[in-house]
Amino acid sequence: MIEVRNLTKRYGDKQAVNDISFKVEKGEILGFLGPNGAGKSTTMNMLTGYISSTSGQILINGVDILEDPIKAKSNIGYLPEIPPLYVDMTVDAYLGFMYDLKKCKLPRKAHLKEICDLCKITNVRGRLIRNLSKGYKQRVGLAQALINNPPVLILDEPTVGLDPNQIIEIRTLIKKLGKNHTVILSSHILPEIQAVCDRIIIINKGVVAADGTADEIAAKITNEHKMTLRIEGSTHTAEDKKAIVAALKQLDGIKYVRADMEREKGVYDYDVESEEKVDIRRAINQLCREKGWNILMLQLSDLTLEDIFLKITMGDAIPAGAEKAEKPAKDKPKFDLNVKDGALVATEVEEETKEDLEENLPADRSFEDEDKKEGGEE
């Protein structure tokens, strides 16, 4: 349905998209995932013929977008990051304009009514787009993309700026559309991609960093044991934390230790990662018995899509699996991972400063963060 071969886009010296190739089959929902500035929008703009590629080829339904742009474009419905709405028009007038612009031959009234019902904008058809809320504008943008029933839908961050209810509605709608259309969807919101897409392409710094279903991608790079520990020290102070981290780091086969939030009074969580095929659970137990610490929780964590995303986009692992990271623990990720409004926010933090910060954190602050996390992931 869509075939992209060695697609490259350069802006002067800057390589925005570098040699991307992929195929999307009919009826597939493909998710483009990547941090801001990874080249998602640039790729989508090339797919839809808004900008041209520096080199490479794009085939939409077998038609090259540069050779026969009009025919190729007639197969695409596009919702750009900012919906292309004329705010001085009513919804009805605007959709009528897009209907004419796309030279749609379907019965006008019935077709527009069907789309408005599908996107739930029937009740605002007579209103000026200027006066609509962000959510409605987004839906009008989506409606516009659906006109002429194009076999390919390309949606650039369709849920940005919407409230949680609207996000769920739009996702449900996209899933529904995926039954009859080939959909490419971009997002930097992980749960969204996971919820909607059959297949995921992770783009980072203009290249395809991973391609496959969430499970396939996970299988490729999950070669480590990772767990979360909750250990109670003897003094119930931050001193414990330092001692525990230091002791854990001394264990054989440990790759990475990081202290997490204070979960109970004076008790901290620790993210621990070990080398492949090394079971460190017994060693940790042994250690704690010797030191007189109590393990309150031990939870093996599977790699979530978030972990994968972070690993790939932060250059922590190469998904092809060829290179095994053998960096010392100090070089391990120094990122503060937070989920904010359903979007993943990764900030680089100096390890030491971070620890200091955590120590100075008021006790209730951690609960607040917890709430946010849960809320964000719905």
Binding site: Y11, P84, M89, M98, K103
Partner: protein, 234 residues
């Protein structure tokens, strides 16, 4: 092209640009008609038309300023450029919308000629010649304004730049007379919009003038298409 033409015509009226344009055009042409023609006690319309050059020069940028700059600013160009239509359809749709509004404004001059016909004898060939000269002048100016609108995201910048550009074209004659090199002066004069336009007001229907204005319109529309195309390769 039809869809874009209809949308732009609608936008002219919803945004109020059409009303401003039509009002100012009618007002100024009325003043020139009254003081240049009626009070002189003549049916000779040339003073009206020669004065209208400068009015058109300042009014047309108001028509064209938004046409492409706003699209770029609001990112609505993404909708147009990803729709299954060619660049020429986009440019010409907008061009003809502006031209239509200009023709509507110009038609007020027919009312003046009816008034004149009531008061005395009108030399119709001369009047019609003038009328068409003004039409072709507008056609060329709109293409220039549309081109400048494609260069910026700011509609005020587009308007000011268009006025300046058209004003420089207007000054070409006096600039040329100060150029001592014969060769360059001739080239400059051959690009003079004003002297070509004045030919018509003298009652001469100059076919080369018509061809000149139409060529300018074509060239600038072509350049606008190139600009839109070039942006995709940026």
């Amino acid at each position: 092209m039809g869809a874009i033409y209809r949308r732009e015509m609608g936008a002219f009226f919803t945004s109020g640009v059409a009303y401003v344009f039509l009002t100012v055009f009618t007002l100024l042409s009325g003043i020139f008609f009254f003081f240049g023609v009626i009070t002189s006690g003549t049916t000779e319309t040339s003073p009206l038309f020669s004065s209208m050059f400068i009015v058109v020069l300042f009014l047309i940028p108001i028509l064209t300023m938004k046409l492409l700059s706003e699209e770029k600013k609001n990112r609505t160009d993404q909708g147009l450029l990803t729709a299954p239509i060619g660049l020429w359809s986009i440019v010409l749709g907008k061009y003809f919308a502006a031209l239509t509004l200009y023709i509507i404004a110009e038609s007020v001059i027919f009312i003046y000629s009816l008034i004149l016909a009531y008061l005395g004898d009108v030399v119709w060939p001369s009047l019609l010649g003038n009328y068409f000269a003004m039409l072709f002048l507008g056609a060329a100016f709109i293409a220039v304004g549309l081109f400048i609108s494609s260069l910026t995201e700011n509609q005020m910048a587009a308007a000011v730049a268009s006025m300046l550009a058209l004003f420089v074209l207007y000054l070409f004659d006096s600039l040329a007379s100060n150029v001592s090199i014969d060769f360059i002066r001739k080239i400059m004069l051959s690009f003079s919009f004003y002297s070509r336009y004045l030919e018509f007001t003298r009652g001469v229907f100059d076919l080369t003038g018509v061809i000149f204005f139409i060529s300018v319109a074509f060239i600038f529309n072509f350049l606008t298409v190139r600009i839109l195309d070039k942006r995709r390769w940026g």
